[in-house]
Symmetry: C2
Subunit: 573 residues, 2 copies
């Protein structure tokens, strides 16, 4: 079932899922809807844009690590189509309510704030002016007071209200804490431009989920999947212990850890912010190193981070945020980085975009590399909506332009994630060619990633990187459409039947990886067509030139794959 | 002779003009040099860019209104190749020194300021740190103290020093007052990024100019040209009396005068800022309505504007500045607009870019439409280099992005001149398709402009506008290359021999308009090739969509020429 919610008229319509969208979930569905209903050239902050939520196709399956949600719109940060993917239980709750997608459209009158409540009664649009100006945390606290602590909540903070293009959408985790974020692409600004302060999902009186095609088969498939996840060294050992931050040490060792605005690939203080440092600090202070963002997940890569007095500072404190708010800003103090992380979460800002933005501002001399207090003050200005705060809140590309910075690590206006593309060339190919600007989740080619024939490209070499990115872009699109967490890919790639058995027993019919990839290419084709119609050309599919012209200290890697070669990474003709 | 000046080594080399550049002047020469020597994808504020000065080909002729100078670079505002054209005697002085072009390259060390002096002794590079932070007026006053009051001076103000992309280059007029500006494209920022605060041209001991091919013929041709200019109603009557500001009333009557950020085509206070109002005010206060920017010009369209006490406020107070700083900001008070004009000139800012930027900031609510004091304070912030000042100093596109404005009247990042393209469709075609972003001087299709067959398109109609723009783009390129003022075009189009006789007697050989247009197409071809290599595609050759979607009050004109049709306006294949 699809809800179509007009903020202007405060009404919602409920429709079935049209034939053409049957079998699509998550990113496949958000991109299909945006592609069909949003004119590619509209101003992303104007009335022509829409915001779409869609749970992945597997969310109802009860399988571990399958509860992810896709949020789609035309991005005000990049101008491209966008899918921003987020964990937490909200997708599971929407799915329990039988919701395939919610389409928010037709903005409210300016400076009127609304809350949408999705429940068994449908979607109500309620006044939200009492939340205006509040941070994400306080907004969620008040909404849980109002609607009960069983609800899942999406909320924007001041950044989204001010329609800033680094604005995220905060989403509650399994404890009702809004530490999960649909971070990338400025979708919080789209929500803000619709006048939508928050979305409350209440499944308290939902009937039992519809039966799967083969309940016994599903149970068995889920059991087998959980065993495989537990047996795999990444999803079974490293991630539960260290979380994503396990990556700091290997990425630093491979000399591609973005440091001081991507000017170095190794951070001399990496040991202060790496997986061990974080783990030990959390354990010592009594935090949780094995927190799950969504019910039922056995990987439990999240965490809670406490201060010395044992009070929670932040949670969901992950690799990308730690490196970009930390190393990329020359900050090696985990407590300071945690405060930055919390501040971004509370203001409703993408930690990645803001980390890179701070690095750019530091190169400009607006503040000094390593000055955590100045960084906190600068991010706080975003909440105050000062001119400088607006600049920073618009992200790295705008900040670089305003301050005249030579090195601005963005593609299509979006800040790069925490892998320098000179050292990790496959990831660089994905940054350049993805339909969404620099986005590692669009096709992450981490060291150790293998091609289907078993070849494992050397991340420092140009060999096979285009092929690897092309493959990973299809895989990522598949995972994003199924609602499947990327961290399950190890076991699934080793044995595809782990995935296809769940799909078959949940939905019936036959499922193959080839079929899933074919669907992924269709989705990518819709996205690419949108971008082409929006004015993007192959000439936009490139990294800033300096990545090919300036070697990365200390190992001297350069990005040496040409834009022409990279075109072959795009999985559609 | 060509000077090549390295700011890094503070040395200059003097060379002959290479074969390939013989016969080229002004824009033809600056674009040839930039096209040959600047890599199209370089960062315009980095070491790969160059700044080129070149007098037009006719500057030495002694003919009226032929003393214009071209300034070329890769624009940091648009990312395209750029030629910014300026009046005043500097081109004549360079030409008397035998200079075909000066190429400034290889930046000084950061925060070191230099002055280049061009004289019979060559080019010296001198310290300029004593001028750091000074406005254009004070910089010029000190340089005239230092080098004598016969010199012509180019200088940047704080805006250029801070490498802001709305920065202009101030140039002295015939009185040594720096009220002329190479305004468009942010070339002041290129000069700033080279560490070049000022250029002094001293021809005091120059030998007599080289003899023309046919001295008697040239005298006769010049006489005939002057008579024709005097006899023409525009160059002989309207321009000397009203200057360019004569246009306010007809453009307002035709409902295309940009008002309140291009939201209206008529300004209810137009009578307070039109040609009559300006003329009467100048006369009443004892200013000069018939000031010439360069020696020998019989059109004398410039002026000096005094305050009520008879003190000069500004000069070269022209249509574009008055409309964009006035009507487009809802300001109908000439005294206030004059103060804004002076402040821009002194800070070294393009009045057009800043006028449009203020209008955009007013739409955003940063200040109110019509609030002249707030506008003055906001422009003053550019000089103070505050974050807000930097935003404004980067121009309309950046300001619109930072403040989330729906209507940003720019093409390729450059603000539109003072003709709404919905009412003046040929000008709109030029904005969209010129090699330099929204620039009326790239091919102005003013009401009354005729095609070679005599057809005069109705500016409100889409008929013949593509053809007219295509024609005017070639004509403008021709004029820019000859150093010829655009205001001479009436007589010249009526009788081409007025121009070709001067060229033949000055340079020898046969000259035809066909030949000049062929050269213009070559120049445009160089420019287009540069832009294509810089990443611009035909998809960039368009106006913001709202000009086609939102009718212009009060007459309801819409821009209705498609991007595909407009491609035919580009005069090269």
């Amino acid at each position: 079932m699809i809800y179509r919610v007009s903020l202007a008229s405060r009404t919602a319509k409920r429709t079935g899922r049209p034939e053409k969208w049957v079998g699509l979930g998550g990113r496949a569905l958000t991109s299909a809807i945006i592609g069909a209903e949003v004119s590619p050239r509209v101003w992303p902050l104007g009335p022509g844009n829409k915001l779409v939520l869609a749970p992945g196709l597997l969310v109802n399956s009860g399988a571990s690590s399958t509860g992810r949600l896709s949020v789609g719109a035309k991005s005000p940060l990049t101008g491209t189509i966008k899918e921003s993917n987020v964990g937490g239980p909200s997708a599971q709750q929407l799915a329990r309510l039988g919701v395939d997608a919610v389409i928010f459209e037709e903005p409210a009158e300016r400076d009127q704030w609304l809350v949408a409540r999705v429940s068994t009664e449908g979607v109500e649009v309620l006044p939200g002016d009492h939340l205006a100006g509040l941070g994400v945390y306080e907004s969620v606290a008040r909404l849980r007071d109002q609607f009960g602590d069983k609800v899942a909540v999406f909320a924007i903070g001041p950044a989204g209200e001010h329609r800033l293009t680094a604005a995220s959408i905060g989403v509650t985790d399994a404890d009702g804490v809004p530490a999960r974020h649909a971070g990338r692409g400025g979708l919080g600004a789209v929500m803000g431009s619709l006048g939508l302060k928050a979305i409350v999902v209440d499944m308290t009186s939902a009937p039992a989920a519809a039966s799967p095609a083969d309940p016994e088969g599903l149970k068995a498939a889920n059991r087998r999947f959980v065993e495989a996840l537990r047996a795999h060294p990444v999803s079974g050992q490293s991630m539960p212990k260290y979380g994503t931050n396990a990556l700091v040490s290997p990425i630093n060792a491979l000399a591609g850890l973005p440091t001081r605005n991507f000017s170095q690939g190794q951070f001399e203080l990496a040991e202060q912010i790496n997986g061990d440092a974080l783990h030990d600090c959390i354990v010592e202070r009594g935090g949780d190193t094995t927190h799950r963002c969504m019910p039922g997940c056995v990987i439990r890569c999240s965490n809670t981070y406490l201060d010395e007095a044992g009070r929670e500072v932040t949670r969901g404190f992950e690799y990308e945020s730690i490196v970009l708010l930390g190393a990329d800003c020359g900050i090696g103090d985990l407590d300071a980085v945690a405060q930055l992380n919390y501040l971004c979460d509370d203001l409703g800002l993408d930690t990645m975009e803001i980390g890179v933005t701070l690095g750019v501002a530091m190169e400009a001399g607006v503040l000094a590399f390593g000055d955590a207090q100045a960084a906190l003050a600068l991010v706080a200005e975003v909440g105050q909506d000062t001119p400088l705060g607006r600049v920073v809140g618009q992200g790295a590309a705008v900040t670089g332009r305003v301050f005249g910075v030579a090195h601005v690590p963005v593609v299509k206006g979006q800040a790069m994630p925490a892998y320098d593309p000179r050292a990790f060339k496959g990831i660089g190919v994905t940054y350049a060619t993805s339909t969404m600007g620099a986005d590692h989740t669009a096709g992450n080619c981490l060291p150790g990633s293998a091609l289907p024939d078993g070849t494992i490209p050397d991340p420092h070499s140009r060999e096979h990187q285009v092929e690897l990115s092309r493959y990973m872009q299809q895989l990522a699109t598949t995972f994003d459409s199924l609602g499947l967490c990327w961290f399950t890919r190890g076991p699934i790639l080793a044995d595809n039947s782990l995935l296809t058995d769940i799909l078959a027993s949940q939905w019936g019919g036959e499922w193959t990886m080839d079929g899933l990839f074919a669907q992924a290419r269709q989705t990518l084709g819709v996205e690419l067509a949108f971008n082409r119609a929006a004015g993007f050309t192959p000439d936009d599919d490139r990294l800033p030139d300096y990545f090919s012209e300036e070697a990365l200290a200390p190992e001297g890697h350069e990005f040496d794959i040409s834009p022409e070669e990279m075109q072959h990474a795009i999985p559609v003709p």
